[in-house]
Amino acid sequence: MDPLETKQTYQNYVDKKSPNSPILKNCFNAFWVGGLICTIGQVILNICKERGFDTQISGTIVSIILIGISAFLTGLNLFNKIGKFAGAGSLIPITGFANSIVSPAMEYKSEGYVMGVGGKMFTVAGPVLVFGISASIIVGIIYLIFNTQSITLV
């Protein structure tokens, strides 16, 4: 076979060879799995509110429970099956964040419990935290400077 010389020919080659993912079916699965996960969150949220917690605490409890469940499902190799089926449906909710911590950690377990598990945990979660926290600091600075409700309505 001829060597693939330019990036463009390589790209064409890859596009030809990789199977077309059925986007409509993927979107449908993502829709109902993602919806279901968040609806479970809403039920937990409603229970917390019924028991008299405020909105902020209730939201935190929901995050902690969903993160805990999905971390252990990933540890038991069950989450990957859901992920394969649902795609973004399990990636985009906070469950995907927990999954992104546990799966690289599992993979590098053989490298030890400190640098293997403890270090590789943040392969994906690290960037998420870096950009999330940096964005929040920038938002805070902008709010501090302009300090008007018309800029930020929160």
Partner: protein, 130 residues
């Protein structure tokens, strides 16, 4: 244990939550299928978008509308960070810029680190079929 289950399973709030979360996930699925972004980049995009929309005060309306349907997706994580930063700036000024965001998301981050580590410890070494 006097929980009013009718309030817990109020169908209109659950439906709004389901549909909103589903649409956010469809956006993510389209990004996965139509672009060549890695999942890590998509997560970063969602968190950053949530923080920006939170800072602009737009995401608040979505949260009011959909509840957990807007806060559980990672955009909600970003929104939570931004909201925390703004509220803390209102309370304590400049230092709030640095403490507010993480303070608001502390529960989620700590849980993710702890449960993540614990789950990795109990996990069986991966056996690859294929």
């Amino acid at each position: 244990m006097d929980i009013n289950w009718a309030n817990v399973f109020e169908w209109s709030s659950l439906l709004k939550c389901f549909v909103t979360a589903g649409i956010i996930c469809i956006i993510g699925q389209i990004l996965i299928d139509k672009t060549k972004l890695t999942p890590a980049r998509i997560l970063v995009i969602f968190v950053t978008t949530g923080a920006i929309l939170g800072g602009l005060g737009i995401y608040k309306y979505l949260v009011d509308f959909a509840g957990a349907g807007a806060t559980v997706p990672l955009t909600g994580f970003g929104y939570n960070l931004a909201k925390g930063a703004i509220e803390e700036v209102q309370k304590s000024g400049l230092i709030g810029v640095f403490t507010g965001g993480v303070k608001a998301a502390a529960g989620g981050i700590a849980a993710a680190v702890f449960f993540g580590y614990l789950a990795s410890l109990i996990s069986k070494p991966k056996m690859k079929k294929q």
